[in-house]
Amino acid sequence: MFWRSLFLQASWNPRGMQNLGFAYAMGPALDELYPDRAVRAKAAERHLEFFNCQPYMAAAILGGAARVEERVAAGEAEAADVSQFKSTLGPPFAALGDGFFWLALRPAAALVAAETAPYVGLWSVLVFLGLYNVVHVSARVWMFLSGYKRAEGIVESLSHMHYASGTPLLKACGAALAGAMAARAVLSAAFGPHPETAPAFGALIVAAFFFLPKLGVTRSVYIGLLCGLALGARFL
């Protein structure tokens, strides 16, 4: 089941989002719990309902859903309890996971790697993958196992993981590293063959920072390329 959970978003779609991926991941558990094919198909059908969560955090819900399915198969819970479990935990877990993994850990790890690239070369790739995946993979495995062990109790387990408190710290580190990367762009011009262009590159960074939300990345890159061409040709 855990292996299949790694393909949760293989068929992401606008209507059911991760529904088919979730149903596919539940397959091994349903195979074991419902030997009768027709009952198993009925169980698979209830996992084809809408589901969306941050893909790593969904591991906890998958584990928990397998536990609740066990109760349903044993007659200790209703089939509707599985749906309720998924729909209750999906949105808050998504918010927690998006904030921590996508908006804090990934930028911070990438910036550390980018910062170290001139000094360690290709090892920076391993710096990034190591920093990110040590946290990501261990969290994913732990959440899947905890979800299976504790089902609804996973909420309490997650509250001890300090995701919410770690996010601002990682973002602060990421912001400082991003500033250092921007400063490096100016310094490399200052120590390059045309040091007189350094202030212009500094101005470009400031302008790009302020106009990015309006222009978007694509237009900013093309404007940057044109400004750089002009600077490189010393037309300015």
Partner: protein, 239 residues
């Protein structure tokens, strides 16, 4: 004949690497192997110039640092751009004998950057195809076939195939980029070097924007001032 076979071999490698990365980006694993800072050096290594790949990967990573796939929101497809750019620029650098340098990278980026937007359309098309897969899976499950949920994996085919094809095409037209690089007169080469430097500057700004925290610009500003002050002090003590 040997050169043609070698080019086809490189196209195959680029297609496979790009295709796997496209699948890994969203559909499977998400170990961040498809991020520019990983994909470009790895593909560069496979195509013969890992350092060249790293030169491309770092600014691309910073440019797309803020792109996040939240719910139905689709960011620009950094993986398609990185894969195609690396597949084109590395062989072009080797063919031109210059290796991957700023001017060649700037030329390639100016040419291929729209792929980031095209990749978003491709992803939307893939999602619509996935909707059909879900419909089919639902129908079969309702008819009593629980194994129909395995149709989910077919959703990986379109991103794999499309990205693989684009990467193979990028390798095949790489010699043209290498030729264009060699035709550039010296002043143009200098200007293109400036353009690549400007991309690094824009990437720095994008990186600061990517930190979605109200205190982000403050921390970034402190870091900028500290770096510049340190550099100024170092220069003064050296002189």
């Amino acid at each position: 004949m040997h050169a043609l076979l070698h080019t086809l071999w490189l196209a195959g490698i680029a297609a496979l690497t790009g295709g796997v990365a496209a699948v890994e980006r969203k559909g499977a694993f998400q170990l961040m192997l498809s991020r520019p800072i990983v994909l470009a050096p790895v593909m560069g290594l496979l195509l013969g110039d890992a350092q060249g790949g790293l030169l491309l990967g770092v600014p691309l990573e910073l440019l797309f640092l803020g792109g996040v796939n939240l719910g139905g929101n689709l960011p620009d497809n950094e993986t398609l751009l990185t894969a195609a750019l690396t597949a084109m620029v590395i062989p072009a650098g080797l063919a031109a004998g210059t290796g991957v340098d700023g001017p060649l990278a700037a030329l390639g980026l100016a040419l291929l950057f729209p792929l980031a937007l095209f990749g978003r359309r491709l992803e939307r098309a893939s999602e619509l195809r996935n909707s059909q897969l879900v419909e089919e899976a639902m129908r079969r499950v309702r008819e009593g076939d629980p194994s129909a949920t395995a149709l989910s994996l077919r959703g990986l085919l379109l991103p794999f195939g499309a990205t693989a094809g684009i990467c193979a095409a990028a390798v095949l037209i790489a010699p043209l980029l290498g030729w264009a690089r060699l035709q550039c007169p010296a002043p143009v080469v200098v200007a293109l070097g400036g353009a690549w430097h400007a991309v690094a500057a824009v990437a720095g700004a994008c990186a600061i924007r990517a930190i979605r925290d109200p205190r982000g610009p403050l921390f970034a500003g402190i870091a900028v001032v500290a770096m510049l002050a340190f550099a100024a002090l170092t220069m003064r003590s050296a002189s």
